[in-house]
Every structure is written in structure tokens, then in C-alpha cells.
């Protein structure tokens, strides 16, 4: 429970407040649509982050960062990807594999972020605003499609959600391989596996 080197990254600020609101909305939406496991998970994450921000980021999962050689990380991810591709969708194997991925990503994500090369502030501002608008638009469009598909005539046929549109693609083996490959690659990118100074405060 010692303060991390960059505890300032876990205190309340505009960014952390907005993200907490987004996570709280996500929790509420999942519970409202009847996905109780998803809702409980997001609620737990939200509460944990509220406690973390309120205590100035003092909570540490581990004292040292885990920095595995890239070949080890890539080998593990490829093995998990292979398991996910081979295992039938919605089965027990998928459950165990996705939970393991989630726990590992959570532990890695909790560690302080590495320093990065800086661009002009206006570039970050323009990009953040644009991507926020696009992300909110996508979430609203998806939410509206879900609500309309639930209550209006025509249902999912007239108002398909992303889930409805992607489901047939995922039931097609090449589509499943592409989805799992892209999903795992995105996870590695988010966790900065390819960065040169991952884990250094």
C-alpha cells in the first residue's frame, strides 16, 4: 500500500471523473438490458476505481511490474487465440480463456503507464474531441438500435445492433479467426506490449 511513483495519475481530475461516469453508465446499461454478469463486473470495476482515485492511487496489486520477454507474451497470446478459435463459441473453454485474459489485462493495466513521446497539445485536444464524438455517436446509435429493436415492430430485422450484424460473421470460421486475431492484437496494443519502456515509471 505504498504510493506509486506517479500517483498523480490516479487522482480525481476531469478525465477520471468522465471515465467513471462512462463506466457507471455502462454498468447501468448492462444491468438494465439483463446482462447481470456484465453489469456486476462493470460495477465492481467502477467502485474499485472510485476507491483508487479517492485514495490517490495508493492501491497496488504487486510491488514489481511483470515484464515478460515479448516472445513469451506473443506465444501465450497465440496459444490462447488458438484455443478460442478451436473451442465452440459460448462454451466453458471460452469462459475460462476470456476470464484469464481479463484478469491478466487488468493486472497489467493497473501498473503505471510508460512515458511516451509528446506531440503538440492542440493535436491531442483535436484528436480527443473527435474520437470522443465518434465513440459517443457509435454508443448512442447502438443503444437506440437496441431499444427500438426491443420495443418497436420489426425488431432486430429493422433495427440491428452491432451484435446482430456481427453474429453471423463470428459463426463463420474465417470470420471468427479474424475477430479473435484483431481483438487480441488490439489488447496487446492497449497494453503497450510493443513499447520499448513498458512498465518503467
Amino acid at each position: 500500500m505504498t504510493p506509486p511513483a506517479n500517483a498523480t495519475t490516479s487522482r480525481w481530475n476531469v478525465s477520471s471523473i468522465l471515465w467513471t461516469i462512462v463506466l457507471a453508465i455502462m454498468s447501468g446499461f448492462q444491468l438494465w438490458r439483463g446482462a447481470y454478469v456484465d453489469g456486476v463486473l462493470f460495477t465492481a470495476i467502477t467502485l474499485l476505481l472510485v476507491i483508487d482515485s479517492s485514495t490517490g492511487g495508493r492501491f497496488r496489486i504487486f510491488r514489481k511490474h511483470f515484464v515478460a520477454p515479448r516472445w513469451v507474451t506473443v506465444s501465450i497470446v497465440l496459444a490462447i487465440g488458438l484455443v478460442l478459435v478451436i473451442a465452440p463459441r459460448h462454451g466453458l473453454v471460452d469462459l475460462v480463456a476470456t476470464v484469464l485474459i481479463g484478469v491478466a489485462a487488468f493486472i497489467l493495466g493497473w501498473a503505471p503507464a510508460s512515458a511516451r513521446q509528446e506531440l503538440p497539445a492542440r493535436a491531442y485536444r483535436a484528436s480527443s474531441i473527435t474520437w470522443s464524438i465518434l465513440a459517443v455517436a457509435l454508443c448512442l446509435w447502438e443503444a437506440l438500435a437496441f431499444i427500438f429493436s426491443t420495443y418497436l415492430p420489426g425488431g432486430e430485422e429493422n433495427y440491428p445492433t452491432i451484435s446482430v450484424l456481427l453474429d453471423p460473421f463470428l459463426n463463420w470460421m474465417p470470420g471468427k479467426v479474424i475477430f479473435i486475431g484483431l481483438w487480441l492484437a488490439a489488447g496487446l496494443a492497449l497494453l503497450r506490449v510493443w513499447g520499448t519502456n513498458r512498465g518503467k515509471p
Binding site: 484528436s127 465518434l134 463470428l170
Partner: protein
């Protein structure tokens, strides 16, 4: 007709994302590429865990969970 409009909405947003990234790659000093922008945002633990949770949920939802779980009558 309604279905076409709904799907077009998704495609329009995705096109906006692709165009934004293409522009960012050509003008990084004016518009940060998504990788740099996320790197900056994710200095905050709340944002980092939020992004990772959203990413993980996407895979969980499509790979394991019931993809479509409607409520209502």
C-alpha cells in the same frame, strides 16, 4: 429501408474513424494519431482500466456471452 438507414449509420461512424486516422497520420502535429492519443489518455489509471475493460468486454460479449440478450415483452 429502416435497416439500411441503421446499417448506414454504423458505416458512417466507422468511415469517420478511418478518415480521422488517415488525416492524423498525415498531420500528426495537428491531429494526434489514435495510438498517441490513447497513450496520453491512458496515463490516468481510471482511463486505462476503463479502456481495457471496454476492450475486454467486447471480446467477452462476442466470444463467450450470449450475443443478443433482449429484454421486454
Amino acid at each position: 429501408m429502416i435497416r439500411t438507414i441503421v446499417v448506414a449509420g454504423y458505416l458512417l461512424i466507422v468511415a469517420g474513424m478511418i478518415m480521422s486516422e488517415i488525416y492524423a497520420r498525415s498531420q500528426p502535429d495537428r491531429f494526434a494519431p489514435v495510438d498517441d492519443m490513447l497513450g496520453r489518455i491512458m496515463r490516468s489509471r481510471t482511463a486505462r482500466i476503463g479502456m481495457i475493460a471496454a476492450w475486454w468486454w467486447f471480446g467477452w460479449h462476442f466470444i463467450f456471452a450470449a450475443t443478443v440478450d433482449p429484454i421486454g415483452p
